[in-house]
């Protein structure tokens, strides 16, 4: 479903928006006060099959960087996340949940450690910059908090590595998952990470200097044509199947990281201190009362999920689907939902109530889905 989006300066264009329009974007979302292209191919299903087989170029500039630099930088970042960031070395990309004093999720960025005293947080859709700024000012910390002129461009899909190696050097093949290295482009040094919001492999180039955006797009786009490259965007089918979550959809401040299954990203042994530690340790000790799960459910292709859909067992609501879509591979509807503890076992029968008034039979599934 798409309605008109009214444009203004407040909803920022990216260094690639002209190019995106040129290749026929059909719709946008808005993330971090910036345009995120959301529809290109004839359908989301075509886009899904293409992403699994070929290579796509994604404008993910809306993954804005919050730069935290200075003597207290590491201290400030550690205050914000339960993950032990002291374990990161330069060259690491760490997925770090950010939580409040009640362990409610504020964001779930990727942290890039650039130096012992310099970090980027590549954020989902909330103003982490203002949170970090408030903490720094409140505690009078010696750090600079800023948004640098950095606009990530993602190259996703199984053919991404070969393409980028041919353009920027064979050394990028050696970059590990959630690690970064550097490439040269027009005399500038640019960061490239093996990461991205899909399960099909690929890289993200954190382009520093928006004036280089059009040239970088063209450079990759032209080289990608023999590989059947298309413009793309995070694909809802692929991310639901793949168990990738979206801040604001699957998780809000109402949720804690353990409900999202982020246990491996939470230090719970007291070895580091952070905001929300006491609350999170108590939740861990008590056990969570709900957890994120997949749901596979019947009926014709479901509509867009813009309000959560109740997941029922008899007359009891046991969860709510926050993202749902038809999967042409599983030939069924799929969704992600928090599910109450007593009912979260894989294979549990449930009923999903979609806004078209249908009651659809479904089953709890694991994530990622088969």
């Amino acid at each position: 479903m798409a309605d008109g989006l009214n444009m203004s300066r407040r909803i920022r264009r990216t260094p690639y928006t002209d190019k995106i329009e040129h290749v026929g974007v059909r719709g946008f979302s808005v993330v971090n006060h910036m345009l995120l292209p959301k529809a290109f191919q004839p359908s989301i299903e075509d886009d899904y099959w293409h992403l699994r087989e070929h290579v796509q170029l994604w404008d993910v500039s809306c993954q804005r960087q919050v730069q935290i630099e200075g003597p207290d930088a590491a201290k400030l970042v550690q205050m914000m996340t339960p993950r032990h960031i002291g374990k990161a070395i330069i060259g690491d990309c760490f997925y770090i949940p950010i939580i409040d004093a009640n362990a409610g999720l504020i964001n779930d960025p990727v942290m890039l450690k650039l130096a012992e005293d310099k970090f980027w947080l590549s954020i989902a859709d909330s103003d982490v910059l203002l949170y970090a700024l408030g903490l720094a000012l409140g505690r009078e910390m010696d750090v600079q908090v800023s948004e640098p002129d950095v606009s990530p461009l993602a190259v996703q899909g199984p053919k991404a590595e070969g393409l980028l190696a041919s353009l920027f050097g064979e050394h990028i093949r050696d970059i590990g998952f959630f690690k970064y290295d550097w490439i040269e482009f027009q005399g500038t040094r640019q960061l490239i990470a093996r990461s991205g919001y899909s399960r099909q492999g690929g890289f993200e180039i954190y382009l520093e200097g928006g004036h280089l955006g059009a040239d970088l797009w063209d450079h990759i786009w032209e080289a990608g044509q023999p590989l059947n490259m298309t413009p793309g965007c995070p694909n809802l089918i692929e991310r639901i199947e793949g168990g990738l979550f979206s801040y604001g959809n699957e998780m809000t401040r109402e949720n804690n990281p353990l409900e999202i299954g982020l246990d491996n990203f939470c230090s719970l042994d007291g070895s580091v201190d952070y905001i929300g530690r006491v609350a999170l340790e108590k939740i861990a000790a008590d056990g969570v009362t709900r957890k994120i799960r997949g749901i596979i459910f019947d009926g014709e292709p479901c509509p867009t999920c813009s309000l959560p859909w109740p997941v029922m067992i008899g007359k009891r609501q046991v969860g709510q689907i926050t993202s749902g879509v038809w999967s042409p591979r599983l030939m069924s509807n799929i969704g992600q939902s928090m599910i109450d503890r007593e009912f979260w076992n894989i294979g549990q029968d449930v009923t999903v109530i979609t806004p078209d008034g249908q009651n659809r039979s479904g089953k709890i599934s694991r994530l990622p889905m088969a």
Copy 2:
């Protein structure tokens, strides 16, 4: 210009969205992770004339409230703004710029003083909640920072007062500009303020309890029909003419409140302390180097301003238009722009370069425009 907006839970619907869709909304913007209806009438010009003569019902739920409550509430709010909030009494709505340590604008909310230890900040488009939370946690203040279930509904236009007095009581006629009082609706007490994002007069009802939204909409909508009520939204023509600014468009963290002409909302005599005081006092002492102005310029109706348009004198750029539109009343294009000090006199000739490639002759004007 409108492109497709892809919906998801992350871009939140409001208690009135069903109603808005029922009356034929044609487009949205996104503010504070929430839908703001932006197009109803056959054209923005029809909407403009209607607003000046009749009465409109606006879903401005995206003006989210940041509730700050507790023993340190007043102290926290004062940290955030250069305005002396000690002068506010219960029942006041105070327009308060929020600034960072460099005096850069973070937001420009309306503060409602609900009690000596309880405030709502009715915000523009940035996550003030996270900033307030960061400050409170950083300084270990005794406050609760939250987003209550409050969704403002605006009734704007010259017929608003009569309509609302007939529905909710004659006492609302006594509410002063930027003051609030209370009305009863379905057994609940609801806050009503004489305020709104137009210069045509009117009120905003800060509905607490989203489940009452549809009924409140219907109640006002039905009573408004004999008065030629229409659904509406902040009107770009009216707000540019009226000198109302938009955070993210006319002002960002690159701007300070004195450039925006908010001198009257800034304590500069040292009588109160706040973040950014030293920087702001220095700017005041030095004098600002640019200031917001109106521009009236020639040519056919200008396109949508989604990237700032250069304002030139000869080969020198002296400003940039951040919002522009055709005014059917002034029979000219109008815009708002920061203008460098040497050139900001009313009547100064300038050239505006619009993205259709045209160079348009224009003149600096005062705000509000005649």
